[in-house]
Subunit: 294 residues, 2 copies
């Protein structure tokens, strides 16, 4: 029996008469093939990537496992082809999740004029142009009583550079829903050094990917997203390996043709700087890395 995912923070949602992703209870994620070639393009990417021997294992771990395609009963009630992927959140109980679309440009060189105009408008209205990335959605686990901090899509759509900085701080805070106006102080970033920092934290993983993007010329990843995920309880116990960085959404991947993906790399480098800034700032105050300012 398939059901809708519990922890989706962005993208199409399955509903009455609406196609959206489904999951089973064995850790698989069913993504319906989208129209106008996007579905087949994404299948083509997964087929190519799965069989490409030039992808090091250290990089492959950032991508969901691909199990092929299957026709299943969709959320609309009728049979529809789906990609069968690893359900990234299946191992989690109360995952904090953030979806970040990378690149200041979300359209590839061969896109149609109409599609370019549509993307360019969104890229300019969001933070994609100024920051090289935009937040597409997030949820931050607080506790069993309060549940999750999960800002509405209408707010996410309007986020500017200052909101992005704030949301990246809230993502690693024990008080994500605290309004600065009321408390007199912002999110506490108490989990920053656990989640962003450390040898297996998000920053270390992003730097590993960055080194690959400085050299790889196989694929260009337009409109692709990072999924950051961690389990607050495990993070507090120091279970680092559960802090996950994954890449998703490959409907607009193109051949690299011997050129690096400078659009993705630029956005990734910008995101790295944002996260480094948060770490530097929280380390200054908490002194957790030994560099206490006296």
């Amino acid at each position: 029996m398939l059901k809708t995912p519990d922890h989706q923070v962005a993208g199409h949602e399955a509903g009455l008469g609406k196609l959206g992703p489904l999951i089973d209870n064995s850790g698989r994620f069913y993504k319906p093939l989208q129209g106008s070639n996007r579905g087949s393009e994404e299948v083509a990417f997964y087929e190519s990537f799965s069989s490409n021997v030039n992808i090091p294992d250290s990089i492959r771990k950032f991508f969901p496992v691909y199990y092929g395609t299957e026709i299943v009963k969709a959320s609309t009630g009728s049979d529809h082809p789906h990609m069968v992927l690893q359900d990234l959140t299946s191992a989690h109980v109360n995952p904090s999740v953030m979806d970040i679309k990378i690149g200041s440009r979300t359209w590839g060189p061969k896109a149609s004029e109409a599609y370019i105009a549509k993307c360019l408008k969104k890229d300019r209205e969001s933070t994609s142009i100024p920051l090289g990335f935009r937040i597409s959605g997030l949820q931050v686990y607080i506790d069993d009583d309060s549940g999750f901090y999960k800002p509405h899509r209408s707010y996410i759509r309007k986020t500017g550079p200052d909101d992005v900085r704030l949301l990246l701080r809230k993502f690693v805070s024990s008080n994500p829903s605290s309004a600065e106006m009321e408390t007199g102080r912002g999110p506490d970033c108490s989990l920053a050094s656990l989640v962003y920092g450390g040898p297996n934290g998000i920053l270390a993983q992003l730097l590993e990917l960055k080194a690959w993007f400085e050299d790889q010329t196989i694929y260009h990843f337009y409109a692709c997203s990072f999924l950051f995920m961690f389990e607050k309880g495990l993070a507090l116990k120091g279970a680092w390996s559960k802090t996950a960085v994954k890449l998703i959404d490959f409907a607009h991947v193109t051949d690299g043709n011997g050129v690096i993906d400078h659009n993705f790399l630029g956005g990734l480098s910008s995101l790295i700087k944002f996260i480094s800034d948060i770490l530097a700032e929280t380390n200054d105050f908490s002194g957790t890395n030994g560099h206490v300012e006296l």
Copy 2:
């Protein structure tokens, strides 16, 4: 007495009734202030940059020295305000010069709709979108008899990714004007390890700048160019320090507002990969770095 520069490879050229740069015989370059605020914007950048104490000397060396503005008799015959800058080619006799405009996007976030449309068209028609940079002009010294290889602007305007790869090879070849069709082989890249490689070569200098761009959030350099310069005779004698990498054209620099210049960094990283590829390939054959393929 001012005169037109001998080694200009791109940009407006001074002529009868046309404003363009001039030089004197004491090593100064006079750049006329352009209209529609560009001139004053570029002056504002040079004033800000010259007095900014947060720019390390290791980075300042990549920029022309700025001496202020001065009203001089322009190439049009009338008085006009000029920026007075260091003449970068004054120390050279027969410089090989290449001008490369960096960034897949040459317009800043606050540009007008009309200006964005104009730039986007050029960025898409050139290699800026696919490669993250485009070649704006070059001259390669051959010898006193043959003079320079200097492709016409009409060819430069039409260069695609393969032409760019070829021109980057020709720039460091003793036979830049050889047509592959006739000789059966391409440019020899005989100067690649001298000019691109080595501890003071172009690649090392670009990597130094890249490290700064991964961290600096002061300026965003839209539509800014690299000028690569070397003197063939000196390069052959091992006079490394004369291989120059300079940044020019700052009419579209904007405030970084705490964000890295991901557009410039992406293009710079792409250019670094192109140059690394040429070095790797020429080293494979010449064995100059000891890694001969057996």
